[in-house]
Subunit: 234 residues, 2 copies
């Protein structure tokens, strides 16, 4: 019997790498999808290519996306990435790194690819516990998108559902790190920082670095990325 | 008081031209959004630019989109556009011109722009009566997308709704033609054909031409486009 096909939204970060490894473990034929949308951390896109291959993706598409650059500190050249926010602040406030409707756009394009390839699932690494306050990571959003996808596609209209799978959505970062270890993910190949330096070294102070570091700390595991440079200079 | 901002999905065809004219008449500041996604009728994109200006759009963005070319007869080079389908067949069957999840993708990107510009509405010319059988033109899909948009955006999470407006959804093509006349739309500037020739002349036989011609005929109005060439050769 042929393997079930799945699209995996893949940034090359910690969460999406664990998600891809998990989908592989579940026996899926994984088609990774990475978006280049003018994000500052475009080093992410370069690393994602190698990383998807290492994790066993059957194919990997990198799509250029026309997000308005003024919408977010993540895509805008003149805006500052917030640093040193407390975890309490993160959970209560949507930060300036929010990219308008990002996951709606990502999932919409993933849906188009899923339907074209005959994939039955879209995996993404959305996380609603240790996260940066983005509304489009919450389970109720994902459920609603799944329903919209059913109503708005030929697949859905002809009884072939395309399901949204967010296997990390209710895990802590520490649990995600442990799951990654169990699946053999090489964390040295995963990049999470919103504001890396030119060589790709993480800043250690943006929301994404802070959540990642907290996860490794709570899991009692050393993060193999090199944070020394930024802590010395910052 | 400043005018309410709206994004208008604008292909330059009959339906979206009437929709843009309608949104203008309602007093909106209209920001037109056109997608170039490898469709055969890319003449549409060239005409849309002039047409949006003539209809009074405050701004006009043309976004290049990475749809998989194998997904549809509208984007695939080697596939035939169906011709001479009866209207009964159209309403009962999703045709090969269906582009996987097209309106989900269009609306997702419109949502991102709407949130960035502070627009409160997204207008589109979707039509569920005289249409080509696409599932993503139906009211239940549009309502579901609106809910998804509320859950997946900062705007929605902070109580500022972005509404989806499909003012033509329950009109016949004849009613749309009449509405266009009442609004002063210049139909000579609207292009609907899926398979125009090199000079941009419509084929007269694809679903889109057939629905358009039926609309003009039932409205008792002459379509100003020149169909002579195609009927002579076909």
């Amino acid at each position: 019997m042929p393997r079930k096909k799945a699209i995996v939204l893949f940034s090359g970060g910690l969460d999406s790498s664990v998600t891809l490894a998990l989908a592989k473990r579940l026996g899926r034929e994984c088609h990774a999808l990475t978006f280049a949308y003018g994000q500052r951390h475009s080093v992410e896109v370069r690393h994602a290519k190698k990383s998807a291959r290492a994790l066993g993706a059957a194919s990997h598409q990198i799509l250029k996306l026309p997000f308005p650059s003024t919408g977010s500190a993540l895509t805008g050249k003149g805006r500052k990435i917030p640093k040193d926010r407390s975890l309490a602040t993160m959970s209560g406030e949507i930060p300036s790194t929010y990219v308008p409707a990002r996951n709606t756009v990502f999932l919409a394009l993933a849906l188009s690819w899923a339907e074209t390839l005959g994939a039955e699932e879209i995996f993404l690494g959305a996380n609603a516990l240790d996260y940066s306050g983005y509304p489009d990571c919450r389970p109720q959003f994902l459920r609603s998108f799944e329903k919209t996808a059913r109503l708005g596609t030929k697949a859905g209209a002809t009884g072939r559902r395309i399901n949204i799978r967010a296997p990390l959505v209710r895990l802590t970062k520490a649990q995600i790190v442990r799951k990654g270890i169990a699946l053999g993910v090489d964390f040295a190949k995963t990049h999470s920082c919103y504001d890396p330096d030119r060589r790709g070294s993480p800043c250690g102070r943006c929301d994404s670095c802070r959540l990642r570091l907290k996860g490794f700390q709570e899991a009692g595991v050393r993060d193999p990325l090199d944070y020394r440079h930024c802590f010395q200079s910052g």
